[in-house]
């Protein structure tokens, strides 16, 4: 009771209370529910059973972890490919393209206004047998191509395509944060173009690269549409397993356990990366 009265008395706590309640109900409670569900017996719908590790055992025995590995592998590959593709584009946006940068930024942004699924179906029309690409190749060059669609490569392509802006824009910010005089100073001190990049530009734009990579990784590990639409379910990512468990299979505890596993693995990875690259230190804030 005294707790409540102290909250009412302190204006700061009083002002913070609504957002605290909102976060508790909207953010912590669902998370807690998912964790709790993962310890319930399979195929039950309630929190009032004896807690069990049966779901986690099922994941192990039924090889459900393979889909987790696929998700992690696809997400890692997406991040790696995006890092290589986006750095030159971001560099160009900041230093080379001048006023065309605005136009390019718009071109990269506008597709975000169209639903991801619709854009992916667009790619299906592009890649599908006798679609835009194979059809053109066949008509113009007489090239008989195999299947582009429904391959792991197509999934990867879709992920790279969908998550490109999420890598590009943090990276652009990161590169823009390196003052031009810093690059000039390095060059003036004798550094070649490559040395300026290695010694100054890359380390100083690292915060942008790291934020972009983490963002894309976390998003990509939760990707589902790409494997469904472009992959034809040739690869089953963990998100697909989770969806099946919650819907078709009506096995909420198993789905919850898979979700918890995914969250754990991603959190550990993210924390490890953030530990390794201290953003504050890179930014020189300490």
């Amino acid at each position: 009771m005294s707790e409540v009265s102290s909250i009412i008395a302190d204006p700061g706590k009083r002002a913070a209370a609504p957002i605290l309640v909102l976060l508790a109900l909207g953010f912590a409670a669902p998370l807690f529910a998912v964790v709790a569900f993962s310890f319930m017996p399979p195929r039950t719908f309630g929190f009032w059973h004896e807690p069990t590790l049966a779901n986690y055992l099922t994941i192990y025995t039924d090889n459900a972890y393979i889909s987790l590995l696929w998700s992690l592998a696809l997400a890692s590959a997406t991040v790696a490919i995006l890092a290589v593709i986006c750095y030159p584009i971001a560099y160009g946006l900041v230093w080379v393209f001048g006023r065309w940068s605005t136009v390019l930024t718009l071109l990269f942004t506008i597709p975000l206004f169209v639903s991801e699924n619709i854009r992916l179906y667009g790619w299906v029309l592009f890649f599908i047998k006798s679609g835009v690409l194979p059809g053109t190749l066949k008509t113009l060059f007489g090239l008989e191509t195999g299947d582009f669609l429904f391959t792991p490569a197509a999934i990867l392509f879709g992920m790279v395509y969908v998550y490109l802006p999420f890598m590009l824009f943090p990276m652009t910010l990161g590169i823009a944060m390196v003052p031009n005089q810093m690059r000039e100073a390095a060059s003036d001190l004798g550094a070649s173009r490559w040395q300026v990049f290695r010694e100054v530009e890359l380390p100083l734009s690292m915060p942008g690269i790291m934020i972009g990579s983490l963002l894309t990784f976390v998003l990509a590990v939760g990707a589902l549409a790409e494997s469904k639409v472009l992959g034809g379910q040739r690869i089953i990512p963990i998100t697909h397993d989770i969806e099946i468990a919650f819907t078709y299979a009506q096995n909420w505890p198993l789905g919850a356990a898979l979700a918890v596993l995914l969250m754990l693995v991603v959190s550990v990875l993210v924390i490890a990366v953030l530990r390794r690259f201290d953003l504050d230190q890179i930014l020189g804030r300490r």
């Binding site: 810093m182 001190l189 930014l283």
Partner: protein
Amino acid sequence: MTGTPEPILQLKRVRKEFGGLVAVDDIDLAIGEGEFFTIVGPSGSGKTTLIRMLAGMERPTSGDILLRGQRINDTPANERPTCMVFQSLALFPHRTVGENIEFALKIRNVDRSTREKRARLLMQLLHLPADYYGKNVTLCSGGERQRVALARALAFDPQILFFDEPLSAIDYKLRKTLEKELKDIHRETGKTFVYITHSLEEAMVMSDRIGVMRKGRLIQVGTPNEIYSAPRSRFVSEFMGDVNVIPVEKNGSGAVRSRSLGATFKPPPGPVEDRSQCLVVRPEFLRFLNGPDEAANKLKGRLYNEYALGSRIQYQVRVGDQVFLVERLRQQPFKGSLDDEVLIGWDPENSILVSDE
């Protein structure tokens, strides 16, 4: 400076245009070996463009830059034996003090122990505490950063050091200390320093010679004393600080006349040219007169205000709607009070005739 030193850096009709805009307009200049040369000018005068061309960060549109007789127009900054201290200092925030100083040596593949030895020597020269070697450079104070930047520039033993207003963001007191320190370092190292600033006062303290820039041109080059006591134009004289400038014209009998004041003055000794010009009198050469016979040139005015400048006191005297500044040493007696009618005057030899540009 005695005699004319061998020129280390020569500019021959160096010009830089951006679009149609002329930033640097055909500058000819020779800077001597070991000289402390300062280019002074207001913002937009082209001084930054000029020094960036000298350092190799801009390419001249036309003209030649010669380093010890070798044309270096097309040599990029990283291949020139010169180094610049930037206005922002541009220290690398992800590196320690030691790593910053050693940067140029690391680039040149100097081994670690030699590098550290050199860095520590420079830190000593620049009064940086030895335990700063491993310190994060972002934790250093403003003055310490200046020293780190200077040490970093000195590390690879460049032949010329360029300075792009590095002291402009520093508070007055520290700036005064650093100005003197910089001059000491110049003496200690014997290197050629080329410095740019918008403060002629700063230039006076440090330089062997000063070049005053305006609208892309060097309008006067000389020793601090020459610039101070013999400015050639109204612009240079006013750039120096508080001066009294009276636009005048030649008045037949070896005198000059101010139309706005309706008065005739005796000019300084020497020929008076026929063009429109200005009579410049520094406040310290203007004085209050007790009687009209005490000086050859005089004006009657009203004492409007006074400002204490430390060792001197400055007075604002209004003659009509024109303002004159008069200074006296604090210890000199003076009995006037505000709104008094006063007579001010100066000796012709203490005035300067300059072009009205």
